[in-house]
């Protein structure tokens, strides 16, 4: 061989190219058309982006300006559900083709979740309640018995037990122990509960971001709730997250408060907005594969990323976007 170093470099490059992607796939539900008006000209591609390498978002599926949430079947990552303006859409081939699996009476889905212990059971949060499918999205039925004024923004299945579901609604948080057949109100609010999340460290711990009642925490699996008062009630909170690498680190995104971080399990909170163009933050994502990395959806702005848990930020993707959700799905 005349130039063996070329072979060596090639092997290095191949090895680098073959480096395994992060263990989680990141899905981003994004609208790049700002502000989007139904019926308007759509130039940029909206909808579902897949970011395997955390560098290059790849658009999959339709150019759908309003996809609010995504969930993936834990048995088969090719089976993807999205909730959006047109209802619940399902792909069984990793996003290549899609079917709207709900009808005219279940649309504008806000959140969607698959029961990890019963993956054929899929729950969707709707503006007029909750629906569930028991056959992997083939058929759907209403499941909001007992919930008065059932606008539902957030729905989450307790990962420790099949059929245990929490719903963030217009008037509080409801808990079901029987797969949404019956519900019990476990937290009362005056306005919408925007986000409910379960701790990756302790499954008994849940956090809830609300429009008017600040940040709420449950330490008993969602049965009772207490306010983490350090965040306050002055601002609408849109979502909340846990740092998978540090059980004492919590994060909140909200309107005019931006990104708030707690390093002491919610006792105190610090704004981490330096470098962000404004403090109107729709969504924040905590990357489970890169300790300290956050993604923030800032109003009318690009998506920003931080590798030091919000102390510094840099532009990451898009030129102006609204991200409705960052969803990390285990690759296997």
């Amino acid at each position: 061989m005349k130039h063996p170093w070329i072979l060596f470099l090639g092997l290095v490059a191949l090895t680098a190219n073959a480096a395994p992607p992060p263990p989680h796939t990141l899905f981003v539900c994004v609208s790049q058309s700002k502000p989007f008006i139904i019926g308007s000209q759509v130039v940029l591609r909206n909808g579902l982006y897949q970011v395997e390498d955390r560098a290059n978002p790849v658009h999959i599926g339709f150019n759908h300006p309003r996809i609010d949430a995504v969930a993936v079947d834990p048995r088969d990552p090719r089976r993807i559900y999205i909730a959006g303006n047109n209802g619940v859409m399902r792909s069984t081939d990793a996003g290549r083709t899609w079917k709207i699996v709900t009808s005219w009476d279940m649309t504008e889905g806000k959140d969607i979740n698959v029961d990890p212990h019963a993956p054929d059971h899929v729950y969707v949060a709707l503006p007029d309640g909750i629906a569930v499918s028991r056959d992997a999205g083939e058929t759907w039925h209403r499941a909001q018995a007992g919930i008065k004024r059932a606008y539902t923004q957030s729905i989450i299945v307790d990962r420790t037990r099949a059929g245990r579901v929490l719903a963030g609604t217009e008037l509080g948080i409801y808990l079901s122990e029987d797969g949404a057949t019956t519900w019990t109100k476990v937290f009362a609010s005056t306005k919408t509960v925007h986000d409910v999340r379960q701790s990756p460290h302790d499954p008994r711990v849940f956090l809830a971001a609300t429009q008017a009642e600040g940040l709420q925490r449950s330490t008993d699996g969602g049965k009772t709730w207490q306010e983490l008062t350090g965040v306050g009630r002055a601002h609408t909170l849109h979502n909340v997250g846990f740092d998978p690498a540090d059980p004492r680190r919590l994060i909140v995104a909200g309107w005019n408060c931006g990104v708030l971080v707690s390093e002491d399990d919610g006792a105190t909170w610090t704004p981490r907005n330096d470098g962000l163009p404004n403090a109107q933050v729709w969504r924040v994502g905590v990357d489970p594969d890169f300790p300290g990395r956050l993604y923030a959806s800032v109003n009318q702005s690009p998506v920003y990323a931080s590798d030091d848990f919000g102390r510094t930020w840099k532009v990451q993707w898009f030129t102006a976007a609204t991200v409705w959700d960052f969803v990390f799905v285990p690759r296997s």
């Binding site: 139904i38 019926g39 339709f62 009476d105 503006p127 606008y151 609408t236």
Partner: protein, 604 residues
């Protein structure tokens, strides 16, 4: 064709009996106006500049059966980058149907492919859904027996057809039992009429074709009863910043021009009017003679009462579709109309006004009203499923620029209550402390021929042949309006407006009118809540207290018995699904229970 012949014969008999212009003359005129629209739009197209065509140009040319090869080439090009959701879907429908025997296989294939690759949004309002599902229905009929892989929805033709039909029937049920949600809209009227004409013209299923025809009758009758020379008058679920002042200048007036021939056509035929005309060129739909007559006969005053409903309420309400109680008093010279006020629509609500007749409405602001410039995140959340804080800004960016402006003249308010008796309006305001704009805006047109502030507290004005007496209940100041006229600004939370209208010919003189108004018994209290007791020019005593049921002549207004339609011309009970239209000896009954339309001429 048989049906058209029968209708024309019946109408001809009726016209003969009543000595009016004949319906066949009217039909000829209608067809000529349809042609005028298509000729105009087709003439805009420059073959060497495809941008001048677009979907409307292609629809116009296909309707005229011209340049099919050129149209086909444009369709192939335009289908490469679809955009516009249901506003793309329904133009496609007209092109697909008008082009069945004209477009090339390549053009048809391009359109078929677009309906697989482009996913239009279903939208978030009723007019969106009417267009979306009508379009989906008709395209599923056009392309039957196809599998889900060939549709954007992933559903088969049969599944799409069934879903679209189910929605449309559900909406028709709602509209014909408790009323439309987007009722009496100066623009969105067209976005119901066009889909319904499509169904009436192109649906293969006789049931859906009949439903389309019947809904079109229903919607146009609803429009005709509340018009004055083609202008939509009174309360609107939605209008816009321009049409709320220049009452004629909306898509609704396109239908006044087209069917009633009693006003000029709006510029560009209202835009979407092109697609109505394109479908009309292929349709045997004709306006029932009764609707023509009730839309044009202003020989004597009449009162129309209607039951409507709010759009879907998603939050902040126990009721999905709250009732709306609407009334309109129409005379030859003016019309006064209102709903009960309150929070009935998220954007573009117009709760009440008077509209006076003018010889030529173009550029004329022939109206008067007051309103509270309300801005509310709660209101937005009630009707939209969005996150809160950004919504008012978002709305202003979505072609509703005045939503969060102090000087706006468009919009409803949760702090407004309206009571009407014939041509008298009492509007009361009790604005919560801390509300963004604690004031009432009154609109005074540039086109008033008189305007006098009277020592009595009344403001007297004249528009056309209407005498107007406007009584602000709290101190005020004047501010100019950029588009002309001036705004009465009354910066007081407890407030109100009384408006009494009359025709000039009812009084011997202007001074006589003023004297009559000054003599009307009136007591006003603003604390603890606004309350007005007023004896109207028509001799009725109105007692209106904020937060209480209004009383007319000692009797509380019985909203529970408010009819779906009640007037000398339209008759329907809430829940009935049946609308009886009458004029003189003519009767036209649209019955959704039996899906039948019945015409008859009653014996003298």
């Amino acid at each position: 064709m048989k049906l058209v012949t029968s209708i024309l014969l019946l109408a001809a008999f009726a016209a003969h009996a009543f000595g009016a212009d004949t319906p066949s003359d009217r039909f000829v005129g209608y067809r000529a106006r349809v042609r005028e629209v298509l000729d105009w739009r087709a003439a805009q197209v420059k073959p060497d500049d495809p941008k001048t065509a677009g979907l409307p140009g292609i629809a116009a040319k296909l309707a005229r059966h011209e340049d099919a090869a050129w149209c086909s080439a444009q369709v192939v090009e335009l289908m490469k980058a679809p955009s516009g959701d249901m506003f793309w879907m329904f133009p496609c429908v007209s092109i697909a149907y008008l082009g069945r025997d004209q477009l090339t296989p390549e053009a048809k294939a391009a359109m078929r492919r677009a309906w697989r690759e482009y996913m239009p949004l279903r939208g978030d309002t009723e007019n969106h859904w009417a267009m979306y599902y009508t379009s989906l229905y008709l395209m599923a009929e056009l392309w039957p027996n196809e599998p889900g892989e060939t549709w954007f929805s992933g559903k088969s033709s049969a599944e799409n057809l069934a879903e679209a039909k189910a929605y449309l029937i559900s909406w028709m049920d709602l509209a014909t039992t408790v009323g439309q949600g987007e009722y009496d809209c100066t623009h969105y009227l067209g976005e119901y009429c066009i889909p319904m004409l499509y169904l009436a013209t192109w649906a293969k299923d006789p049931e859906m074709r009949q439903r389309g025809r019947m809904m079109l009758d229903w919607i146009l009758a609803d429009y005709a009863i509340d018009t004055l020379n083609g202008a939509y008058v009174g309360a609107h679920a939605r209008t816009d910043d321009r049409q709320v002042l220049e009452k004629w200048n909306g898509l609704s007036s396109f239908f006044g021009w087209l069917f009633l021939d009693n006003c000029p056509a709006p510029a560009g035929y209202g835009g979407w009017g092109i697609f109505f005309a394109a479908a009309a060129s292929a349709s045997d739909y004709t306006l029932p003679e009764v609707i023509y007559r009730l839309g044009t006969d202003r020989a004597g005053p009449y009162l129309s009462r209607e039951h409507k409903r709010t759009r879907h309420r998603w939050r902040n309400s126990d009721v999905r579709n709250a009732p709306v109680y609407k009334q309109t008093y129409v005379t030859r010279d003016y019309a006064v109309g209102s709903d009960q006020g309150g929070m009935l629509q998220p954007i573009q609500q117009h709760s009440w006004d008077v509209t006076w007749a003018v010889a030529d409405p173009r550029g004329v602001h022939n109206t008067m009203f007051s309103m509270h410039p309300h801005v509310s995140i709660d209101e937005m959340q009630m009707y939209f499923t969005e996150f809160p804080d950004w919504m008012p800004t978002l709305v202003t960016l979505q072609n509703k620029p005045s939503y969060d402006k102090e000087d706006k003249l468009l919009g409803g308010s949760e702090f407004e209550q309206v009571c009407q008796d014939h041509d008298t309006i009492v509007a009361l305001y009790d604005i919560r402390p801390g509300t963004k704009y604690e004031q009432v805006n009154g609109f005074f047109s540039k086109d008033l021929v008189r305007l006098e502030e009277d020592a009595s507290g009344w403001i007297f004005a004249q528009g056309g042949n209407a005498y107007l007496a406007y009584r602000p209940l709290a101190p005020y100041e004047w501010r100019p309006i950029a588009a002309g006229g001036k705004r009465l600004v009354s910066p007081h939370r407890r407030n109100g407006t009384i408006l009494q209208v009359a025709a000039a010919h009812e009084f011997a003189s202007w001074d006589a009118f003023k004297a009559a108004i000054r003599a009307l018994p009136l007591t006003v209290a603003l604390e603890p809540k606004p309350k007005v007791t007023f004896k109207t020019l028509r001799g009725h005593t109105m007692v209106c207290a904020y937060g209480e049921t209004p009383q007319i002549d000692g009797k509380p207004v019985d909203f529970a018995k408010w009819p779906l339609f009640e007037s000398p011309y339209l008759h329907a009970d809430v829940g009935s699904r049946k609308l009886r239209m009458t004029h003189g000896r003519l009767e036209h009954v649209v019955d959704f229970n039996t899906l039948t339309v019945t015409d008859r001429v009653t014996q003298p």
